[in-house]
């Protein structure tokens, strides 16, 4: 399946991983190092990044086509803001369309207060969800988001029944996550994340 970013799930997982590693208390990385590491990772995974654009109302944008994927980021952003834009665009890639072939598509990240006054409902819904997923990536805890967002293959499961239960739980969690900000907060709590991981391990591991 082709997504807005090649191998979006792997890219998101790796981005979250390097951001988590860099928060090790003994030697935390500076924002500049984090932004450089994120860009390097994206480039290695096939996303062309340009941080030199003189954008006005946009922080950045993603363009994706069969020719490739590129992220263009405003040159005026701080390192932290640049990192946020990358995480946000990757979140959009996880949530965006997928299909056997990639169509020409774009995602725009607006400067706060400079976005269009009217946007289609589906765009607004995706934007709210992308906010939550981007926060999970930036915190280095992708697992704070429902698993179906970043891993559509739930594995073999212990059997047909447990696989069905597991799938139902994940679909329910994703549906709640899409609709409720309160659930987004609850779902990101470490204790809830740990619990869902345990349930997934129990039901999802092969017998």
């Amino acid at each position: 399946m082709a997504t807005l970013v090649p191998q979006a799930e792997t890219t998101a997982a790796n981005l979250a991983r390097i951001l988590r590693l860099q928060t090790v208390p003994s030697e935390p990385w500076q924002p500049h190092q984090r932004a450089v590491a994120a860009r390097r990772l994206l480039e290695e995974l096939g996303v062309h990044c340009d941080e030199s654009a003189a954008l006005h109302d946009l922080k950045g944008f993603l363009l994706s086509s069969p020719r490739g994927t590129e992220m263009v980021v405003s040159r005026d952003l701080t390192d932290e803001e640049r990192l946020e834009v990358y995480a946000h665009l990757i979140a959009h890639a996880l949530l965006g369309p997928d299909g056997p072939e990639l169509a020409l598509a774009a995602r725009f990240e607006y400067v706060h207060g400079r976005g269009p006054e009217e946007r289609p409902a589906h765009e607004l819904r995706e934007e709210l969800l992308a906010d939550a997923v981007a926060r999970a990536i930036l915190a280095g805890r992708l697992e704070a988001a429902p698993r179906l967002i970043y891993c559509r293959d739930l594995g073999p499961g212990r059997g047909r029944f447990s696989r069905a239960v597991l799938r139902g739980l994940h679909i329910g969690s994703l549906a709640l996550y899409r609709r409720s900000r309160s659930y987004q907060r609850i779902r990101s709590l470490p204790v809830v994340t740990a619990l869902t991981e345990r349930v997934h391990s129990f039901l999802g591991s092969a017998a």
Binding site: A53, H56, L58, L63, S65, L104, A105, A106
Partner: protein, 152 residues
């Protein structure tokens, strides 16, 4: 006239009137979104084309002998408010280029155009330049290989 193949000249002579009127329709579009020939020439210049206002006028009238290249046609179309995926496909088909987009691709392109038109003009210019390379299949840093990269 510069050195051109007879076949190329004959082909362009056969289609230049229809291509010209299609391009004029795209430029004029809805009255509120109409672009002047001067503005279009300026926007094409920003994209890296050397098309003057007089050339825009003569292309639209179908009286310019120099064939309009695929690159210019795509750039011209992207500058027009009235562009839609269907209009784009039809324009290119008129000029003999097949756009291999299915229904999903066409819808996706229309969505993209809608989002793109909501941007400020300054941002539109930057997005449009990138879009051009994606459609033509050329990397911006590798313009020398432009002709070789086309897959039309």
């Amino acid at each position: 006239m510069p050195d051109r193949d007879e076949v190329q000249v004959a082909r362009w002579s056969a289609i230049k009137g229809r291509v010209g009127s299609s391009l004029r329709e795209l430029r004029q579009g809805e009255p509120a979104a109409s672009r002047s020939q001067a503005r279009l020439a300026g926007e094409l210049e920003e994209l890296g084309y050397h098309v003057t206002q007089s050339m825009v006028s003569r292309y639209e009238q179908g009286i310019l002998e120099a064939p309009l290249t695929l690159e210019r046609m795509v750039g011209w179309a992207l500058c027009c408010e009235a562009l839609s995926s269907t209009a784009f496909k039809e324009l290119l088909a008129l000029a003999g280029y097949y756009l291999p987009w299915n229904a999903v691709d066409l819808r996706s392109f229309d969505d993209l155009l809608r989002s793109y038109r909501r941007l400020s003009l300054a941002d539109q210019v930057i997005v449009r330049a990138r879009l051009l390379w994606h459609i033509l299949g050329i990397e911006a840093s590798d313009t020398a290989a432009a002709d070789a990269s086309l897959e039309w």
